[in-house]
């Protein structure tokens, strides 16, 4: 306690630096918190409780109010959307959040009008295959760039950076023509191959592999492990966050992609979900039935929303680690 009294100067403790509260001394209106700060020093802070409580609560209240209003503007439309998809057509005109007589009529008529179930499977297939290919090719190239010396390494690195900064408008039409010439129009290949390699994934893997010790690889080689074995069985378990990040971002990107499918797929049975829903809502197929259109949107949103609710932390971390968006 000697050190305590020798500490001069008091300051307000907001709990920010407080690593561990050691106790509270009290005298009249004065509270003194004794705490260990983040640098391990024993400190004390005087808190004029009466003032603090009022200051904090008004500020906090305003803050929570602002945040709640913001949260409502972000969530309300989604809840309204789900409600509207369950509402009978005549109830849609009302502002109520939830329909009086909810039912699945809209979904039924949607399934009758368009092969939406089929497109769900298509989308899943395309997204899963694209993601796997991106993970494999990204690991291969990233591994070579991070852990091997070879001629042209620097050149490849420059090519990757160039690829990343190239706007897609340049390659859009030539790639469409390439797909025509390869006779891949109206195939899944057209949807998967142009996205099978990602410069971003390569850079992520390169960075992750660089952080791993060479000894890990040398040891595996001595044990007779193949190079692919090294990548997927030895290195991957050590860079799980990177694998998850690349997988989530690629999957979402592929799932939400709509411009490219609109260009290379015309056969309704091969369409991905966003494409089918887009054409459905732009064309006259919805017969101006609002409920059916919204039902299609709900079905498109639901898989991603459910995945997000379960893996929220991974989603947010992935997106934040890159600053990339669709």
């Amino acid at each position: 306690m000697n050190t305590l009294s020798s500490l001069r100067g008091t300051k307000q403790c907001y709990g920010r630096h407080c690593e561990e509260l050691r106790g509270t001394k009290q005298s009249n209106l004065l509270h003194i918190h004794v705490y260990v700060d983040r640098w391990g020093l024993l400190r004390q802070a005087r808190i004029d409780e009466m003032i603090m409580i009022r200051k904090i609560s008004i500020k906090k209240l305003l803050m929570y109010l602002a945040l709640t209003i913001a949260a409502v503007t972000f969530i309300y439309p989604f809840i309204w959307m789900i409600g509207a998809s369950l509402a009978p057509e005549h109830e849609l005109g009302k502002m109520t959040l939830w329909p009086v007589n909810p039912g699945f009529q809209n979904f039924k008529s949607m399934f009758e009008k368009i092969p939406i179930g089929r497109s769900l499977i298509n989308s899943l297939l395309v997204a899963v295959l694209t993601t796997s290919l991106v993970l494999i090719t990204g690991s291969f190239v990233g591994y070579a760039l991070a852990k091997m010396q070879f001629k042209g390494r620097q050149l490849i690195f420059y090519i990757i950076v160039f690829t990343m900064s190239l706007p897609f408008q340049v390659t859009l039409i030539p790639n469409y023509i390439t797909i025509i010439n390869l006779r891949l129009v109206d195939t899944f290949f057209a949807l998967i191959i142009p996205f099978a390699v990602s410069a971003f994934a390569i850079l992520m893997f390169r960075q992750a592999f660089q952080g791993l010790p060479q000894a890990l690889i040398d040891a595996a080689r001595l044990d007779g492990c193949t190079e692919t074995g090294i990548i997927f069985r030895i290195l991957w378990p050590n860079i799980k966050p990177t694998v998850v990040t690349v997988a989530i971002l690629t999957f979402i990107g592929s799932w939400n992609e709509v411009l490219w499918p609109l260009i290379v797929v015309r056969n309704e049975n091969l369409m991905t979900m966003p494409q089918l829903v887009t054409l459905f809502s732009v064309g006259g197929r919805a017969d101006s039935l609002l409920g059916v259109k919204i039902a299609a949107a709900v079905l498109l949103a639901l898989p991603v929303m459910i995945a997000f609710l379960f893996f929220q932390k991974h989603f947010i971390q992935s997106m934040a680690s890159t600053g990339l968006k669709d």
């Binding site: 959307m81 502002m95 390659t171 732009v282 919204i294 947010i316 934040a320 600053g323």
Partner: protein, 299 residues
């Protein structure tokens, strides 16, 4: 003797594992880049000098496409619309996301709930968001106009008024992306050392002064990233006007990418569309580089 044997062993080993392997690993990527990136760049340039509708043979027309581009009022209008969009989208995005991140950057309850709710639109497909907002912004039955009429205000033609439509889309796009930037700013704000604020508090700096003189300069890299990302995203504006307005009313929401798409896949002017795409890509790169220079100078 020993030395030579060791030498050959090393050499063969090196040949297999050091020389060939990296190329083997990299080759799929190289093939991909040649087919889907490098070849297209040259082919696109090649196409800009030709007239081609895919079916009939290609015709060399010199620089006609470029002359056409510079006289194409609709293209410049589309670029103008895209710039109008950016003019509202970027500042709005910056202010709203920074504000929300600033509020979230403290010890608080329900942090993950707020974060998740802001993030929801980010992960959902643009198609969903667009269909949703189409209902919200509808003239007669739209939710927002209903709210306006209940509090006694006039209806606004969010998507039908030519002067308003592009800004409605900008607000919608901000709503969709803001959650991502909140997270980015949150990461940025957490890197600011708290000692700085303490020192400023000791000197008697107000909250606003602290924000202006400490927070802003410290999170400058994040601001830069957000500006660049929303610029690129905004230049690629496509699906929102495609679904919501088809480019109307009076072509006021025709975005540049939508126009390029229409030229290629509705009118089948491949050569001309390639010219537009090439020109537009160079424009985007120039703007991004200029922004980078400008922002770096500001620091």
């Amino acid at each position: 003797m020993n030395v030579t044997i060791e030498g050959t062993v090393k050499k063969t080993q090196r040949f297999h594992s050091r020389n060939l392997l990296p190329y083997l690993l990299v080759s799929p990527y190289l093939i991909f880049v040649m087919v889907f990136v490098l070849f297209p760049v040259f082919f696109c340039l090649f196409l800009t000098f030709h007239k081609w509708n895919i079916i009939a043979p290609m015709k060399f027309i010199g620089t006609d496409n470029y002359f056409r581009l510079f006289q194409d009022r609709l293209f410049w209008k589309a670029i103008g619309n895209t710039l109008k969009f950016l003019l509202l989208h970027i500042p709005l995005q910056l202010i709203v996301s920074l504000f929300l991140a600033y509020l979230l950057n403290q010890k608080m309850r329900a942090l993950s709930f707020f974060r998740a709710s802001f993030f929801m639109p980010v992960i959902v497909s643009g198609v969903v968001v667009t269909i949703l907002w189409q209902q919200l912004l509808g003239f007669d039955s739209g939710l927002i106009n209903r709210l306006l009429t209940t509090i006694g205000l006039n209806k606004i033609g969010w998507l039908v008024n030519p002067d308003v439509a592009i800004y409605s889309i900008a607000v919608m796009a901000t709503w969709k992306n803001v959650g991502l930037y909140v997270i980015l700013f949150l990461v940025g704000l957490q890197t600011v050392p708290t000692q700085y604020y303490e020192a400023a508090k000791m000197e008697g700096a107000t909250r606003w002064q602290q924000f202006y003189h400490i927070t802003l300069p410290m999170i400058n890299p994040t601001i830069f990233m957000v500006v660049i990302l929303s610029t690129i995203g905004g230049f690629n504006l496509f699906i929102e006007p495609y679904i919501m307005t088809g480019g109307g009313p009076l072509n006021q929401t025709l975005s540049a990418v939508l126009y390029i798409y229409k030229q290629a896949f509705q009118y089948y002017n491949m050569g001309y569309s390639a010219t537009l795409g090439f020109f537009y890509a160079i424009m985007i790169m120039t703007v991004v580089i200029l922004q980078k220079k400008f922002i770096e100078k500001e620091v």
